[in-house]
Subunit: 597 residues, 2 copies
């Protein structure tokens, strides 16, 4: 495989230097592409150019937005990268699709106040018809993998993950990994979620009845992927749900997840008891036609489990879970999601929408962790996983929540056992309840641990969790915190190549290559800004000390001096020092006790 | 034991309401005291008053500064709480003490430029003479504990930790816990560090050759303890080291730690090879007379270990470690700290200075974790711990550093084995190198884990680690992050009472008691500010929803509605719902597969 620059040869140097960061400073990296077996298979990477002439290649989620040669326009949407791959398979067909209705944007019940529809907001890009499996046939990556086919999507993620395409196919075929890729979302750069691959991070966005606009949500999506979000969930609950999602999907280079129940509830004006399977199904089709790549379905919240939550400290904290519980109790009937699960599988298979089986009964406090309600639902998710696989629907399983450290491992171990190693997708878990405003940290701790033990994707938590809606800064903080947790887990799992990044940064640190440290950092802008706060002058960027110790005390400098004074390569130094130490030891210069061993 | 308010009965209500937070708002907690067996033994607590009429009592590190009835003045210093206890033991004597010299403030070599001494900066409080064990006798809490004595200090921490004084005595006597309390630092509120007790957090402050002033350092100390720092290390390396430390000590309600080597090096103008045992010893006595409670001593950096660092990615990253390595190599001699360790023990025992045996060869990168250099030093620290105990010197052991998650447990297990369960005191560890500007988080993950597994105290890391000196905001962020890690570990260890805090906050969350959520939060100011950003209006403080979901979707509200609609107490609800579920099950209404188990 060869890496191709996203630059023409002539402008190569200047492009790298001119790409501006937010702060308007030049940066030492550029977008490049690794080519696969065909010219239309180009996998984006971030190439960091070090001042010692080397470069480091990093996984890149930021999409075409960081490629200076691609002219992006949110009103046009991203180019449909996978369109030809999907068409070439010949197993899908375009069709008229479900007409968009005012209530899709939550207008039905409030038309007198707000007018029929905000037409200006409708996505203005090229007209498109939805696509689905011909005759309702499953067109999922799971179905292809089981047939032994390596799709371009699989090869793409193989290049991205630096593994063989056959490993990708095997993991998908076994249900241990998912490659969320709705046939109506050709804009995505394929990615994979599974414990044999790099740990992934999801960022949630979404307006609510209380605040925020379409523009903000699209901006949050591109912002989140810029900092490393591997997927984005649009959890909008207020007005303009349909239209917001259209803008997000057409502009998203990463898979988009949703919770269709939220929109279905809007369609019945927020009255859970008025929900029906028909309204829900209609919403799922609406969203599948738009291109949603994975959907959270709370089909594990069964009627008999609801009483198990009565003695809880915090009851049911999942929105979807509480809506379904309310419905079950209002009608005193089994969940319509559970009862219609096979029908739902047929729909999802025809678009390749991946299940994210929701944990509607997840614990919302330390006190409720690992209780019977939670594990009863998990066992049901195990059943549903088996059914989904029969329909060739890719499936992952959602996990908690609030869990103290000593109870975390039981969660992943049980899930892997009950759900046949289907990818686990957890929210944190938060390891204590006492730090509102810092729940990115309380949960980042749990996230790193559970990912080390096998969780495939982590749903981020922002500092605003429990308190308010995340703004741009919160989204960034949440993503960075979770990239740390994911990478710490990659290291602990011994993921091949993960440590190269750490090593490159530590080398730069040891050799006082400050610019390289910044450029290799998860967040170059903040690293640079923090350094400059104390030592702003340009010469400090090459100084062989920093503000923490000052010039006299720098331990790294002393370490280097030790090496220099004792000359030669590392090997020679070691030999020389070893010789001296030998003489020292031979002289019997031992003090106090001998060293153990 | 009774809890006494820090308020007179007449002003009780108003005092609680008027105590201002930084933002100038009234808060729902006040300082109170739990009385021990004698009137001068009053242990401070933070009492949080809930809107449901209950209150929650929390551990309090903030000192007299948060007591509206105590008139504090940094120019006078704090009242000498322990003075009578120390005098009453009758085993110490006052003496003239070592005269303060210009070079103690780093002036010797730069006098022509800076004048002899900044006299205005000298601490103006009451004159005091240093105190030490009569005839050099050990006056340590370890010596008393071994003799079976329960000192007032031990009783004080027993009240603080809610355990029996005998447990405290036993743990100290066994060397599994330390109670750092220099006889020359009577101002402290005693605290204990050991794995059977609450996990503690240390915050570092200190000026450097490059920046910051005395006022800033005193301010950082009180600020750090306000947010929960249990001890503070003054790591100053620039000018006015002696004077800064005097101000800090006289105003500190928590034990103060130092690294005497830093000041010793200043006295030889930063030339490591000019260091001598005599200069070092003189510095230790200078600091012991001032009242430093624990000292980091890098006596484990032995000459034969230095070559073991030659092949490392980042060499020696500990300042103290690199200074000692440079000295060893320059003279090609064994470390003077190692050679004079017994003499050092005699000095420390006479003041009850606690050893913090430094890990000068700790790894500074993921690549260097758990290597031979690190563990060779740890084995030496085990030897030194044995010697220190012979001299009745309280001792804790410092630990890394940069360690990937899967290599953390080996650190605590080995340390506990080699060092006879002496308290482990770790810096993080950082679980990845790739996130400068977020190393409070990379290390908070490792800190929580290693504390769960037995580390007794965590040295905080701020966002500025590797980049610059922490400012006020960084100190707060570092402390809060580490309080989270410590509390998450207390929960995971099943520390009695730890979960009550989480439960109180979760109850408040479930019942929409927003003010209680804020007041119970580790950082009430930020939690309140984040909430108000989205929903600033005062009615929102009692609203039964928040900005995340809006009024329609609130899962907690639905949970409550479920309870309400189904009436009665929790038990009755459960019984009622169970009955309904039973009917449901009896009707054979099973869908798809039976639930496993």
């Amino acid at each position: 495989m060869t890496i191709k620059d996203a630059r023409t040869p002539a402008s190569a140097q200047s492009a790298a230097q001119e790409t501006p960061t937010e702060a308007g400073k030049s940066i030492g990296w550029h977008k490049a592409y690794v080519e696969g077996s065909r010219p239309d298979l180009r996998v984006p990477v971030r190439q960091v150019h070090l001042t010692n002439g080397r470069s480091v290649t990093l996984y890149d989620t930021s999409g075409p937005y960081t490629d200076p040669l691609v002219d992006t326009d949110v009103r046009r949407g991203l180019p449909p990268l996978r369109e030809n791959w999907i068409i070439a398979r010949g197993d899908t067909e375009e069709y008229a699709g479900r007409p968009v209705r005012p209530e899709d944007d939550g207008i039905k019940h409030t038309a007198p106040r707000g007018g029929l529809r905000n037409l200006d907001a409708v996505f203005p890009g090229r007209p498109r018809q939805p696509r689905r499996g011909r005759g309702g046939a499953p067109v999922t990556q799971l179905a292809y993998a089981r047939r032994g086919e390596i799709t371009p999507e699989m090869e793409y993620v193989a290049v991205r993950e630096n593994v063989s395409p056959e490993v990708v196919r095997e993991e998908i075929a076994a249900g241990r990994a998912v490659l969320p890729a709705n046939v109506n979302h050709p804009e995505i750069e394929p990615m994979i979620i599974g414990k044999r691959f790099l740990v992934k991070v999801n960022a949630n966005i979404g307006n609510s009845a209380v605040t925020s606009s379409i523009e903000e949500e699209v901006e949050k999506m591109t912002w989140a992927t810029r900092w490393g979000a591997d997927t984005v969930m649009d959890l909008s609950t207020g007005r303009n749900i349909h239209t917001t999602r259209e803008w997000v999907l057409r502009n998203s280079p990463v898979p988009i997840g949703t919770v269709p129940l939220y929109q279905a509830l809007e369609k019945v004006d927020g009255k859970a008891e008025e929900l029906t399977w028909e309204i829900y199904k209609d919403t799922v089709i609406e969203q599948a036609e738009q291109g949603v790549d994975y959907m959270t379905v709370h089909a594990g919240v069964r009627l008999p489990f609801v009483p198990l939550t009565a003695n809880r400290k915090t009851g049911i904290v999942s929105r979807g879970g509480s809506i379904m519980a309310a419905w079950c109790l209002a009608h005193h009937k089994e969940s319509f999601l559970y009862e219609h699960f096979e029908e739902l599988c047929e729909i999802l298979a025809a678009y390749d929408v991946t299940y994210s089986l929701g944990d509607g009964l997840r614990p919302g406090s330390i006190a409720d962790a690992n209780d019977e309600a939670q594990f009863a639902e998990l066992r049901t998710l195990g059943e549903l996983n088996t059914i989904a696989k029969r329909f060739h629907v890719q499936t992952m399983i959602e996990g908690p929540g609030h869990v103290p450290m000593h109870k975390i491992k039981e969660n992943i171990d049980l899930q892997q056992e009950i759900c046949d190693e289907a990818p686990f997708y957890t929210l944190g878990p938060l390891t204590t309840d006492i730090a509102p405003a810092y729940d990115h940290i309380t949960s980042g701790i749990g996230a790193a641990m559970i990912a080390w033990w096998g969780t495939a994707m982590l749903c981020y938590v922002t500092p605003k969790e429990h308190l308010g809606l995340p703004d741009r800064d919160d989204v960034k903080t949440g993503v960075i915190t979770y990239k740390i947790a994911a990478h710490a887990a990659d290291l602990a799992k011994g993921h091949p190549g993960a440590q190269e990044w750490d090593d490159a940064l530590s080398d730069a640190r040891f050799e006082f290559r400050w610019e390289d440290q910044f450029n290799l950092a998860l967040d170059p802008d903040t690293a640079r800004a923090f350094h400059d706060e104390t030592l702003p002058a340009e010469p400090a960027k090459t100084a062989h000390f920093c503000s923490m110790c000052g010039p006299k005390f720098c331990s790294m400098k002393i370490s280097q001096d030790i090496r220099r004074e004792h000359g030669g390569t590392r090997g020679e130094i070691e030999a020389g020092m070893a010789q001296k130490s030998k003489e020292f030891a031979e002289a019997g210069n031992r003090v106090y006790l001998p060293i153990a061993d």
